[in-house]
């Protein structure tokens, strides 16, 4: 621990000096593009399962209505149609059917797609969206 601590204290001023002179130790990642790619990246349902648990699992489950409605069978389903879940009128009357394209749009900005919805969570990474959609499609038996 002492060695790590000493190394850290030595490294910090060096890093600070490098930044002050505009010499970054590693290049910063490019800023996210304002324009999503024209076609979604190849999707992977296994990765999607992990993303689903980490980023959707606070509010959703496949087989239980919780903060949000259950998701098994969501792919191809009409929005606002789980019988034992109460939706906002805005989503219920939206007429949306959960296709891959609509799910992708929804996950990018639910409030923008359906103003008045209770879901505000945005999944901004295109790869994660594609993977989650693939997972939901798989779990819907499609």
């Amino acid at each position: 621990m002492k060695t790590i601590g000493n190394s850290l204290w030595l490294a910090l001023p060096v890093a600070a000096a490098a930044l002050a002179f505009g010499v970054a130790a590693a290049p910063l990642p490019p800023a996210p593009s304002a324009h999503p790619p024209a076609s979604p990246p190849p999707a992977n349902a296994s990765r999607g399962a992990e993303v689903y648990e980490a980023k959707c699992g606070a509010c959703h489950s496949l087989d239980a209505n919780r903060i949000g409605p259950k998701h098994r069978g969501v792919f191809g389903r009409k929005a606002g149609s789980v019988p034992d879940f109460h939706y906002t009128p805005e989503l219920k009357k939206s007429g949306i059917v959960w296709t891959a394209q609509n799910l992708d749009k929804w996950l990018q900005g639910p409030v923008k797609m359906v103003p008045g919805t209770a879901m505000g969570f945005q999944l901004r990474d295109a790869q994660e969206r594609a993977d989650v959609i693939a997972y939901l499609k798989q779990q819907s038996g499609k």
């Binding site: 648990e53 980490a54 980023k55 959707c56 699992g57 606070a58 509010c59 959703h60 489950s61 239980a64 209505n65 919780r66 903060i67 949000g68 409605p69 998701h71 969501v74 606002g80 879940f85 109460h86 939706y87 906002t88 009128p89 989503l91 929804w106 900005g109 639910p110 409030v111 103003p115 008045g116 919805t117 209770a118 879901m119 505000g120 969570f121 945005q122 999944l123 901004r124």
Partner: protein, 192 residues
């Protein structure tokens, strides 16, 4: 796809009153926001919906810790931590209720403990580790949920509020992960 507790729990949103940002800042304890950030106001009715979804999340978190505490599966020192974490969620709940009331909305009420037990599959909890894994899953998810909702919020005071709560949840997740012996994530950022 968080959807509505509005009709189910008799959510009666008041008129889409736009609360002064400074006023909400006082409610949320964020009076130190920069002046520029105070200039904009959001769509109060939309924010009420999103805050109520967050409140539903906190209700569930409180219930999850309650189920764990009553399970008799936790050792005394772990139970003490669980009760402390639950108290943090109660603080979040109270802050959310205050903010929703201030915006003119009606806070959603918690479901019954039996409902939460069913939704969280509490009958599957057979050991202390099971309880901690459930708590960890919910805390990780809550961290991501709060971070992921920030871009949808209209009122700048709420950005900071959501970030602060997300930080609390990530603290809980880190502690629980450590207690369970989970490895430190190799990649950053870990959330969001």
């Amino acid at each position: 796809m968080i959807e509505d507790m509005k009709s189910r729990r008799s959510l009666l949103i008041g008129s889409a009153t736009t609360l002064s940002v400074a006023g909400l800042g006082v409610v949320l304890g964020s009076a130190a926001l920069p002046t520029a950030a105070r200039a904009a106001t959001g769509n109060a009715a939309q924010d009420i919906q999103l805050l109520n979804a967050a409140l539903g999340l906190e209700h569930e978190g409180i219930a999850a810790y309650q189920l764990g505490a009553e399970s008799k599966l936790l050792k005394p020192e772990v139970l003490k931590v669980a009760v402390t974490f639950q108290s943090h969620h109660k603080q979040h709940r109270d802050d959310l209720i205050a903010a929703i009331n201030k915006l003119g909305g009606k806070p959603v009420v918690a479901k019954s403990e039996a409902d939460y037990a069913k939704e969280l599959n509490a009958s599957s909890l057979k050991s202390q580790a099971d309880v901690l894994h459930l708590a960890l899953k919910l805390e990780k998810g809550a961290t991501n949920a709060y971070l992921g909702v920030i871009p949808s919020l209209g009122n700048p005071d709420l950005y900071l509020f959501a970030a602060r709560v997300a930080s609390d949840e990530s603290f809980h997740a880190a502690f629980l992960g450590s207690a369970l012996g989970e490895p430190i994530p190799e990649k950053a950022p870990m959330f969001g």
